[in-house]
Amino acid sequence: MSTGSNFGFTDVEQIDDESRQLTYIAAISEAMREEMERDPNVLMMGEDIAGDFGGAFKVTKGFEKQFGARRVMNMPMCELAFVGAATGMALMGLRPVIEMQFADFITSAFDSIVQYAATNYYRWQGAVPWVIRAPSDGGLRSGPFHSQNPEAWFAHAPGLKVVTPATPADAKGLMLAAIRDNNPVIYFEAKPLYRSLKGYVPPGDYVVPIGQANLVRQGTDLSIITYGAQLREALVAADQLAAQGIQADVLDLRTVKPLDSEAILTTARKTGKVLVVHSATQLLGVGAEVASMIADQAFEWLDAPVRRLGGLDVPVPFSPPLEDAYRPSAAKIYTIAKELAAF
């Protein structure tokens, strides 16, 4: 049982060697830096992001030095107002990237996001091309207000796009796509992955299109559909299942809005057994929509009920045994997947 916070507050490393093995957080940082170099309309705004401090997680450390205070703006503590201001900037053709210090604080800006920005294009065709970065997810012993996964609230709001990268490469590729998209995009970055997940990140202009899932692992016995921090858990579980002779398809949604229905239905029809996993509360979560889509459009291919695994319907608890009981994990995925395979 881990009892420490390991998302870290140390500087983000800048590795630019041949291997291009970057941490998840370094990939986010690199994507934004390169996009600021490419497009003078891209700017950063958020609490504590400027100066030598560079944000609570240091994602923008060094940015003000490179780009100046004009393009890297510290905000007063007023999420509702500064997201609204970002909307005004976006209407004028700028592309603000807003850091929510933690995804949990995004509720303070709810009106500005779901009422104003999300509806604007439909109402009078004023495009709002901003990105909100929302450091989400838990397992880090950070308690109810530094651990949340509120993506379903935003997926439920017409007009928003919601992306949830699970790998360093996708963290970069989806960031570039989000900044270049002409709509408001909520970018949920999984802070448990920040400094603990490394992987190859393509150099330069690497875009992962919004709305395209990725079949990360191929199997025939069942499908595990997931996104964000739970992809890593699902892959650990899939290895354990393989050792038992159970081969799992693992589909990383990458984007929860719009959902890649084709990829979801393809894997469901292929294996006939589906487990949907996310860290967010299971009840009425994104997984419910995925399960419903499969029931609607892949019913005849199913060999078992669609199963779901998400967080419990409780506030995210602090103490390690409680948080572990709350959260999905590789072990829990393994258990349900094994039941499903035997169904």
Binding site: A81, M92, G159
Partner: protein
């Protein structure tokens, strides 16, 4: 002020009043769609402030600022099309009454029912001008009701921190729906709040179009020169209900009678006549012109098609 300018101010106020009266009549005849908000009493504010803007300045008006919309170039036809939910309305039938009436080609930003939301959005426009070194100003409006929302504080504080070229017009019309000012706040003069943010605030008679214009023009010039944001409180009275369905029985009749004597359009007309700047013949010509314009707009809107139901899912996302 030149006579031309004065007559121009009068024309826009009269046009706004005519639009308002004819729209109210339309709804009373049962020809309206959904709700409708009269702006009666607000003409001097929307016209005086709108007239002070430069062509490149950006403004986010609200639901009682029809004069400002029209001064920006939004035609009565497009307004009526929107009021009647037609495909020719600004929002193509997507948004109700004056909501959703934004057009960036006219430097107009639309509002939502959460009225204080326009405060930070207009601030962002102002911050974009600083970002790009453009000599432009952003202006927006809020009522006394919305001034109780947290965004009022958040936005003015932030505008001050960034020294943004930003003008906030508070249209203090004494009522938030049915709730009078004394049940909304202990300090009835909202202008006093400016000091808390370290920005200047000025109060103006919201029924005196020339005074509103002069103060707004000063504020805009100051902001354009890098002087930062300003709060202007314009006192007026909402002369009809919150919306068309509301008879506003909760407003004392004597209060309305007192403000009726200060009617911004009629008192300005009398003032121009008394100063021999215009005669009754000219006034009648202007009124006739306004009636013709709004009649045309209503005919245009009523003859416009409703949006195609099959288009309902179109345009949620920008390409």
């Amino acid at each position: 002020m030149t006579r031309d300018q004065q007559l121009t101010l009068y024309y826009w106020m009269r046009l706004t009043r005519t639009l308002d009266e004819m729209a109210v009549a339309l709804w009373k005849q049962g020809r309206g769609v959904g709700g409708m908000f009269s702006q009666r009493g607000h003409e001097a504010i929307s016209v005086g402030t709108g007239f002070a803007l430069g062509p490149d300045d950006v403004v986010a008006p609200m639901h009682r600022d029809h004069g400002c919309y029209m001064l920006r170039g939004l035609t009565p036809r497009r307004i009526m099309g929107n009021l009647l939910g037609r495909a020719t309305g600004v929002s193509r039938g997507r948004d109700a009454n004056m909501h959703g009436v934004g057009d960036l080609n006219l430097n107009l930003i639309g509002f939502i029912s959460h009225l204080p939301q326009s405060l930070p959005v207009a601030l962002g426009a102002a911050m974009s001008f600083v970002y790009r070194g453009e000599p432009r100003v952003a202006m927006t409006y809020v009522g006394d009701g919305s001034a109780s929302e947290g965004l009022f504080h958040e936005t003015l504080n932030m505008a001050a921190v960034f020294n943004a070229p930003y003008i906030l017009i508070v249209e203090n019309n004494q009522y938030a729906y049915s709730t009078p000012l004394n049940q909304q706040m202990k300090m009835p003069d909202l202008v006093n709040r400016a000091a808390a943010y370290g920005i200047p605030g000025v109060m103006v008679d919201g029924n005196d179009v020339e005074a509103v214009y002069a103060i707004t023009k000063d504020a805009i010039e100051r902001a354009r020169a890098g002087g930062g944001p300003m709060l202007i409180e314009a006192k007026t009275m909402r002369m009809m209900g919150h919306a068309i369905h509301d008879g506003a029985e909760y407003v004392p009749r004597e209060l309305l009678a007192e403000w009726e004597r200060r009617d911004p359009v009629n008192t300005y007309e009398a003032r121009l006549i008394a100063a021999n700047l215009v005669d009754q013949v000219e006034i009648d010509e202007i009124k006739q012109r306004c009636t013709v314009e709004i009649t045309d707009a209503i005919q245009y809107a009523e003859n416009s098609p409703f949006p195609d139901a099959a288009s309902v899912t179109e345009g949620v996302y920008a390409p």
